[in-house]
């Protein structure tokens, strides 16, 4: 992944390409925005779910791609936001948006608390602590019956008044997710993002440069938690209920799978991974009850043959195509920088040079 980034930013400096890129983004946004008018209702629902579950995966990817740590308790933070909204709306009778704001604050605080617990942990220890944190939240949802209604969960969470139909919710979710994705993009390309990446790629060098790795992990974890919270708010608005299953570790694993499948090295990879997983599930489940087996096989194939995930494979296929037909793309892709270069394993702390992003 580190090999990809410099080209990406050099692209940004190229005005023509920047314009083209901008155009591509705008076209995509317009297509997605008008999509509900041409799709059946259940496809609109599926896309909506892809939006917020994709945002959840992208928020996890802040940890995976930048600071190089994997959390398996991420659905817990997602669930905290969903629960706070559910409790706020049904018990305190707050308006949905107020409850959502409260949920974000609470999720942020919980994320910070959890971050403090783990910023100094490494590798497997880090993962195991996040699992424990996720289990803690799940346990609270399951056992703290007076607040969470236990196993039965909380239902009857109505979204704000101005959202009446599934399409309204689609557009609302789309807007929220688009803004969130843009914010995450700014994070990835910012100086802060560079420092976070430095923490992941070369913590010793960061230390020698005078940066605190623990502080940067804290920031990354909190940001990841906040965006998971945004996804959780959309989740509860969409389904109208939340139960302990929402924040179960199994759900966290699904999110991590989406990140790996889509490719953590590419910014939109986790979104793609989520889209593929959710869509494939809707095809496969009516046909067979061996869905988990298929996911397992998919993951093995991805890990063995697509080190950059599906998004990396797409990018690499596109690069090959443009190499073969130079005119199609206007110019030749430099071979040595092909995006198929395998990403370093997450958690790798080998020095791989200074943070490679130009610091603007």
């Amino acid at each position: 992944m580190t090999t990809l980034m410099p080209q990406l930013t050099s692209r940004w400096t190229d005005q023509t390409n920047q314009n083209r890129r901008f155009l591509a983004v705008v076209i995509t946004l317009v297509i997605v925005a008008v999509a509900p008018m041409f799709l059946q209702q259940f496809h609109v629902g599926l896309l909506t779910r892809i939006f917020f579950m994709g945002l959840l995966a992208m928020s996890l990817n802040v940890l995976v791609s930048l600071t190089r740590v994997l959390s398996l308790g991420h659905a817990g933070l997602f669930g905290v936001a969903a629960y706070v909204v559910a409790i706020g709306v049904t018990r305190w009778e707050l308006p949905f948006l107020t409850a959502a704001a409260v949920a974000l604050v609470v999720t942020g605080l919980v994320s910070m608390l959890f971050a403090v617990m783990i910023v100094r942990a490494q590798g497997v220890t880090f993962v195991m602590i996040t699992v424990a944190q996720g289990m803690l939240l799940w346990g609270a949802a399951e056992r703290w019956v007076s607040v969470t209604n236990g196993n039965n969960g909380i239902r009857g969470v109505r979204p704000p008044e101005f959202i009446q139909t599934a399409n309204d919710f689609y557009w609302a979710a789309f807007a929220v997710v688009a803004v969130s994705v843009f914010a995450l993009w700014r994070l990835h390309t910012s100086f802060l993002g560079t420092r976070l990446r430095g923490t992941g790629d070369s913590p010793t060098r960061m230390t020698s440069l005078g940066y605190s790795n623990a502080w940067h992990r804290f920031i990354a974890f909190t940001i990841a938690g906040l965006f998971a919270g945004v996804a959780g708010i959309l989740y509860v608005g969409y389904f109208g209920f939340v139960s302990p299953t929402t924040l179960h570790v199994g759900n966290s694993v699904q999110v991590a799978l989406a990140v790996i499948l889509g490719g953590s090295a590419l910014f939109l990879g986790p979104l793609l991974g989520t889209a593929v997983l959710l869509t494939a599930r809707t095809w496969v489940v009516p046909v067979t009850d061996r869905w988990n087996l298929i996911v397992g096989a998919l993951m093995i194939v991805t890990v063995l043959f697509l080190p950059n995930g599906l998004a990396g494979a797409f990018a690499s296929a596109w690069a090959k195509l443009t190499r073969r037909i130079p005119r199609l793309a206007g110019r030749r892709s430099p071979d040595q920088n092909a995006p198929s270069a395998p990403a370093e394993p997450p958690g790798s702390s080998q020095p791989s040079g200074t943070p490679e992003r130009p610091q603007h």
Partner: protein, 451 residues
């Protein structure tokens, strides 16, 4: 590089293409169809007027995950019902499609949505777990789809249930409350309980304790092993072995009950005190896994294939002929779901367009003869069952079944308590097990033991 620029477009297009694909499923959610945009043959739960159109029923059950066995047994009973009685009802043919909840409430909602929008179902039967049921109920209510809902037994449903749901099953307390009274009357004075630490376990234990303590019984200790974690029940067995009690009350569902019984046997506790159970700890499929040592286990439940009732006998025989295993409560509940759907269709001449009307018809339906015994309905829409106290015995060919030794006729979810006062109490949970409630006979409507 160049490729990066196109990535957003690629992602977008793939998402759209993926969604537009044929046979894909939908997405769940709590919204009504947007008429302005739905352009395909959306689910139309109200096309009954067009005579001859089949009625489509969605059977939503977990077919994967920890309770998959129950889902499979349910479908066996469902299919057997329609094979036996024919698929024509109220002038229409009944068809069905299944959906897999994976024991996850949000998956359950997605599947319900798929069944409605892709499979065009008119009636939903299921799902299984309480949390799934509440979530799906939210959705079916929002679109006005009748939901016939049997197995979920959470006490929560007494307090809050949408009008579009007919809950024809029992609550756990409905079965364990008569059992608590029965146990006290049999002379058990000191009982320890071991129930799974989640809503089902809380409610099984709570019902038993509520009436057992009203009748002078004493709970020696309460143990709460986590649900589904059966690897090491040793510490619990050690605690039970230390107690001075007359019996142990077991409220650990299905696989956990089997694990309990193995540990119970391994610790040499088999011949110390009797184990009293619940229907979720003692159906024939569970007894088979426990082995012949489970002989003599006394439990409470509403269905047993050995009941001296021609309708039940007929079902039990057919089920065993069809599947080569003794009949369980799950397929019996499914069979009755079939009978309910048929009843509703026949009463309304096949018109299921109005969910409230369909459910209202079901709520008034009395079944003097059903596969679940005689059923009547109270003024709150709860079904009253004959609750049987049964003993597990080898029926002669090495197969264990439950044989009735006592019966509480037409018992409701409030048992002998005043309905309103009963539901004013919280649903049983770890903190509220009914020890001190009620304080006096005001809450009793018959046979108060407190004086």
């Amino acid at each position: 590089m160049r490729t990066r620029r196109w990535l957003p477009a690629v992602v977008g297009v793939v998402m759209l293409a993926a969604c537009a694909g044929e046979g894909s499923e939908d997405g769940g959610g709590q919204f009504e169809d947007d008429d302005g945009t739905s352009q395909d043959d959306q689910a139309d739960p109200g096309d009954a007027g067009e005579g001859g159109e089949p009625v489509r029923v969605g059977v939503l059950m977990p077919f994967s995950g920890p309770v998959a066995v129950s889902g499979e047994l349910f479908v066996k009973g469902w299919e057997l019902y329609w094979e036996t009685h024919g698929t024509s009802a109220g002038g229409r043919t009944v068809e069905w499609v299944t959906g897999d909840t994976q024991a996850d409430p949000s998956v359950a909602v997605e599947e319900a949505r798929r069944l409605v929008e892709q499979e065009n179902i008119d009636i939903l039967v299921g799902p299984l777990l309480g949390s799934e049921g509440l979530a799906v109920g939210e959705y079916t209510e929002s679109i006005g789809l009748p939901q016939v809902y049997g197995i979920p037994a959470s006490e929560e449903f007494l307090r809050d249930i949408p009008d579009t749901i007919f809950r024809y099953g029992i609550t756990h307390g409905q079965v364990s409350m008569p059992f608590g009274e029965w146990a006290a009357e049999q002379g058990y004075e000191r009982v320890s309980t071991i129930c799974s630490d989640y809503v089902t376990g809380w409610e099984i234990c709570g019902g038993f304790i509520n009436t057992f303590t009203d009748n002078g019984g004493e709970i020696v200790t309460q143990l709460w092993p986590p649900f589904g974690d059966t690897a090491d029940l040793g510490p619990f067995m050690a605690q039970l072995a230390e107690q001075d009690h007359d019996a142990v009350y077991l409220g650990m569902p299905v696989g956990d009950a089997v694990a309990f019984f193995r540990a119970w046997t391994d610790f040499g506790l088999l011949d110390t005190v009797p184990v009293l159970g619940h229907h979720v700890t003692s159906s024939p499929s569970i007894l088979k896994a426990m082995g012949l040592e489970a002989e003599g286990m006394i439990s409470a439940g509403v269905f047993t294939g050995t009941l001296d009732d021609p309708v039940v006998e007929d079902f039990a025989t057919r089920f065993e002929e069809a599947y080569g295993e003794p009949s369980d409560p799950d397929p019996a509940l499914a069979w009755h779901a079939g009978a309910l759907v048929r009843h509703g269709l026949e009463e309304l001449d096949g018109d299921v367009s109005d969910a409230d009307e369909f459910i209202a018809v079901l709520k008034q339906a009395e079944f003097p003869e059903s596969v679940l015994g005689p059923l009547s309905v109270d003024e709150h829409g709860n079904v009253l069952y004959d609750v049987h106290i049964r003993e597990a015995r080898d029926r002669g060919d090495g197969v264990m079944e439950n044989f009735v030794i006592d019966t509480y006729e037409q018992s409701g979810p409030n048992f002998r308590y005043d309905y309103d006062m009963y539901v004013e109490q919280p649903a049983y949970n770890r903190d509220y097990q009914g020890f001190d409630w009620p304080e006096n006979c005001d809450a009793y409507i018959s046979d108060c033991p407190l004086d």
